[in-house]
């Protein structure tokens, strides 16, 4: 089975890119692939804890938790998060925060890299 790295650059709210990226990760995991999910730029908002579920906004916290339980490495960009006032204590438990070198290293070793979104 393959290793897939998904770089997401869209915010949680405002487009369906984040929903698509999570769906893609779920599908890949269900097919037995290994997945890295990297949040950069506005995508770091997905990592913020305390999100509330409304019927008319994307809500992905529970699905991210399920991905983690299925072995997906979910990591937010440290600089992108800090620039937006999101610090390690603000991040959902289990989501790591690393600098970009972590991601490019993982991507370099992956079989496929997919970038989704970006404002």
């Amino acid at each position: 089975m393959a290793t897939i790295s998904i770089g997401l650059f869209s915010s949680l709210i405002g487009s369906m890119n984040s929903d698509f990226a999570v769906k893609l990760a779920e599908t890949a995991v269900n097919k037995g692939h290994s997945v890295n999910l990297w949040f950069s730029g506005n995508a770091v908002t997905l990592a913020r804890k305390g999100q509330k579920s409304f019927k008319d906004y994307s809500y992905l916290a529970e699905r991210l938790k399920a991905l983690q339980e299925n072995g997906v490495a979910i990591v937010a960009c440290e600089a992108c998060a800090a620039a937006r006032g999101i610090h390690k204590d603000d991040v959902i438990e289990g989501i790591a925060v690393h600098s970009m070198d972590w991601y490019v290293a993982r991507a370099a070793k992956s079989d496929r890299v997919l970038h989704i979104g970006g404002e």
Binding site: D101, V104, A108, K109, V113
Partner: protein, 133 residues
């Protein structure tokens, strides 16, 4: 043998965060070997409206209070990072080569490399991974 990643930048500067994210991700390749047993070689290609990132004398500090994309590009040239600029897109936007950034004042040995899109395509085929920004 090093792994290679091609960072393709297709958006203009300041309008979007993506070009700067591409450049900072590319720069991070220089220390990626802290995590894996291989070096990671970055190559950057500016295509489409992304070639607008390569125009010199950007005044982002004056107007936005942030470091310019120009300064990031100069830092990368001074670090010997290969950076390609699509010739056809420069022509489309009537950007002459003399308007492009260089980092000779920082002692860089290389300049932005203006190439045809066919050369960018060859780089897409050569590199192990491609990241589109």
């Amino acid at each position: 043998m090093a792994k290679s990643i091609l960072f393709v930048i297709s958006r203009p500067p300041y309008k979007s965060e993506n070009p700067k994210l591409a450049i900072t991700h590319a720069m991070a390749c220089f220390v990626a070997d802290m995590h894996i047993d291989e070096e990671v070689e970055p190559v950057v290609a500016f295509v489409g409206d992304g070639v607008l990132n390569c125009i010199k004398n950007q005044r982002s500090q004056e107007f936005y209070g942030i470091i310019s994309t120009e300064q990031h590009i100069k830092n990368q040239l001074a670090s010997d990072m290969r950076m390609l600029v699509c010739k056809e897109d420069l022509y489309r936007l009537d950007i002459k080569p003399e308007r492009l950034i260089n980092a000779r004042d920082m002692g860089a040995d290389i300049d932005l490399n203006v190439v045809g899109f066919n050369e960018v395509q060859k780089e897409m085929e050569r590199c192990d991974q491609m990241m589109w920004f």
